[in-house]
């Protein structure tokens, strides 16, 4: 009889924990999905809302891209973190979910620049800032909420489910975009079909809000509140008290900065490198990343769970140092795998097609060259040259405006495709090593009364600023090696020095100063 009661109690506990994890993870997953579709559709959004010939709109585009990641995310972390430590975790991350879903849905409905003019980029800019704000508040809440429900010896395992959401969110966003694009066709997708992934968000958010509404407050926070021990000023307590500030700095420099650059390199820079340095065709490059992400995702759980047994520190540090050492060899192999100079061309299969047409007052010359290689790789180069029909106008045009637009697309052979998936997968494994245990590590670093505020800021500076800058800084570093404008870069891998240096410094700091001991979150 006593055994039956124990079994029932254990079953109820497992069901309850699963519900907590599911409710938190689904919401966080949707938030990441919402955040990523804007980035993945940046080119179309730019054409619809931020025309390049309008300088103000172009500036807003830049700000929307960067501000949401750099400025607003840490600000959201502070704002919602404070709220979460004052009124509770449950209601705070419910609010962030509604803000994120609402803004994403609204982006999908905003008329384009051609219809409402300057109001279009202004509205999208504000909505994008709201997205960044909501994301800044969401993660800390979800991680804290799950951690405060988890048993001490399984915290790494339970919180690692939250860690899968960022990668899974990116996978779903890429998947939804590809499916909608393939179903509607490129023209319709570019015209209005791109709105579907945004509008879809409202249904996902509605389901998630319903699930979260049914959840109860974190037991540790509820106890603290009942006893009147919650912080009156979480911001001051987090960042003005030396004992806590030093841990915030340690979390940032010894963990999240390195983790952020490894994360962004493995998931975003890899995609950008495939598309821009290796010229891999758009759909194929996205499929490579998607497959690597889906195979790699279970490793978050594996490393989160392992961190419960051997400690968080060594897994995260191993991920960082292996990434530091392996990045250049991996990217060299990726570059070589798509390098046409190393492949044998089947000359008789080369086809060149040219087309000349008049569009209004302009002439458009299009030349398409397709090549095939012995290993099955295909190459397509499209050169478009546009100039005024009137020779006088043509002569008066600046030279840079007459420069032809060239698009190179490499479709890899099956063998090269598989290898590329492998190269990206290795990087995703690094991501899972540094990211899988980090939620448990962060929540254990700070006391319950200021946990939401204290852990959110280093997380979002590490990921939003250090990590978020990887594409910008790495691309820029490669530009430094270009001997002349338009010439190929002398070292296409030079951009890797940014993540290598940041992760290297983080590794040294983490090894020296971070403890491998797992702290109990309810010890106050």
């Amino acid at each position: 009889m006593a055994q039956n009661v124990t079994n029932v109690a254990q079953t109820e506990e497992v069901t309850s924990t699963r519900r907590v994890i599911a409710a938190s993870s689904v919401g966080t997953l949707i938030e990441w999905y919402d955040f990523y579709i804007f980035g993945s559709l940046a080119k179309i959004i730019s054409e619809q809302f931020f025309p390049k010939d309008n300088p103000t709109a172009a500036l807003l585009a830049t700000l929307a891209t960067f501000a949401a990641g750099f400025v607003v995310r840490p600000f959201g972390a502070l704002f919602f973190g404070r709220l979460g430590d004052l009124i509770g975790r449950k209601y705070t991350f419910l609010v962030t979910l509604v803000i994120m879903g609402g803004s994403t849905f609204a982006i999908g409905l905003v008329p384009g620049f051609k219809t409402i003019g300057f109001a279009a980029p202004a509205i999208v800019f504000v909505l994008r800032l709201l997205q960044g704000l909501a994301l800044g508040g969401e993660y800390g809440g979800a991680a804290t909420y799950v951690a405060e429900h988890s048993p001490h010896d399984k915290r790494g395992f339970w919180t690692s489910w939250i860690q899968t959401t960022a990668t899974f969110g990116l996978f779903i966003s890429l998947g939804v975009i590809l499916i909608v694009r393939q179903t509607l066709g490129l023209e319709v997708f570019n015209d209005w079909g791109w709105r579907i992934p945004f509008i879809l968000s409202v249904f996902l958010v509605a389901i998630s809000v319903y699930i979260r509404m049914k959840m109860s407050e974190s037991p540790l926070f509820a106890k603290l509140k009942k006893e009147g021990k919650t912080s009156a000023n979480p911001l001051a307590e987090s960042f003005q008290k030396k004992d806590n500030l030093k841990m915030v700095l340690l979390a940032l420099l010894g963990a999240t900065a390195g983790q952020g650059v490894v994360w962004y390199t493995g998931q975003f820079y890899a995609l950008s490198f495939l598309q821009n340095a290796c010229n891999v065709e758009f759909v194929q490059s996205n499929i490579i990343i998607s497959i690597a992400l889906i195979i790699g995702t279970p490793f978050f759980i594996l490393f989160g769970s392992l961190s419960d047994k051997i400690g968080r520190k060594y897994i995260m540090m191993a991920g960082m140092i292996i990434a530091v050492v392996a990045y250049r060899p991996i990217y060299t192999m990726m570059y070589q795998e798509a390098n046409l100079k190393t492949k044998q061309e089947v000359v008789e299969k080369t086809v060149v097609k040219t087309k000349a047409e008049v569009k209004g007052a302009d002439s458009l010359l299009t030349s398409v060259t397709t090549k095939e290689f012995a290993d099955g790789t295909k190459y397509k180069e499209t050169v478009k040259k546009k100039f005024p029909v009137d020779p006088e106008k043509k002569a008066a045009m600046p030279k840079d405006k007459l420069k032809p637009e060239t698009k190179k697309e490499v479709t890899l052979s099956q063998n090269s495709f598989n290898k590329m998936v492998g190269f990206v997968l290795i990087q995703v494994i690094f991501v899972t090593m540094v990211y899988g245990p980090i939620a448990a590590f962060l929540v254990e670093l700070f006391p319950t009364r200021i946990r939401y505020t204290s852990m959110s800021l280093p997380y979002h500076i590490g990921n939003g600023v250090f990590g978020g800058l990887v594409p910008l800084i790495s691309t820029r570093l490669v530009e430094f090696t270009r001997p002349a404008p338009g010439a190929p870069p002398a070292d296409p891998l030079f951009g890797l020095w940014y993540p290598i240096i940041i992760a290297g410094v983080s590794f040294v700091i983490g090894m020296l100063y971070i403890s491998n001991k797992t702290n109990n979150v309810d010890e106050e």
Binding site: T62, F66, F70, V71, K242, L245, K246, L249, L250, L252, L253, I461, V465, L469, L472, I473, R476, V508, I509, L512, Y513, I514, S515, N516
Partner: protein, 74 residues
């Protein structure tokens, strides 16, 4: 170990202080050579967002490490 932590504290502080003139001079040189809009945006982001975070956090962290604040952590 405590001594190593303190010595490295000096290194972090020096890195935090040194990074400011390094980035500012590099930005001035780059913008001076090519005053394009792209250059301005890039260096503005680095100077306004990234540099203060790196400099402040390294200096503060280094000072804490120098004072032995992290000796009892690991």
């Amino acid at each position: 170990m405590s001594v190593i932590k303190r010595i490295f504290g000096l290194l972090w502080t020096a890195m935090g202080v040194g990074i400011i003139p390094f980035i500012v001079m590099r930005a001035m040189q780059e913008i001076g050579e090519k005053p394009t809009e792209e250059n301005w945006i890039f260096w503005s982001i680095v100077i306004v967002v990234l540099m203060p975070i790196i400099a402040f956090s390294l200096i503060a962290f280094g000072v804490f490490a120098l004072k032995g604040e992290y000796n009892s952590v690991a």
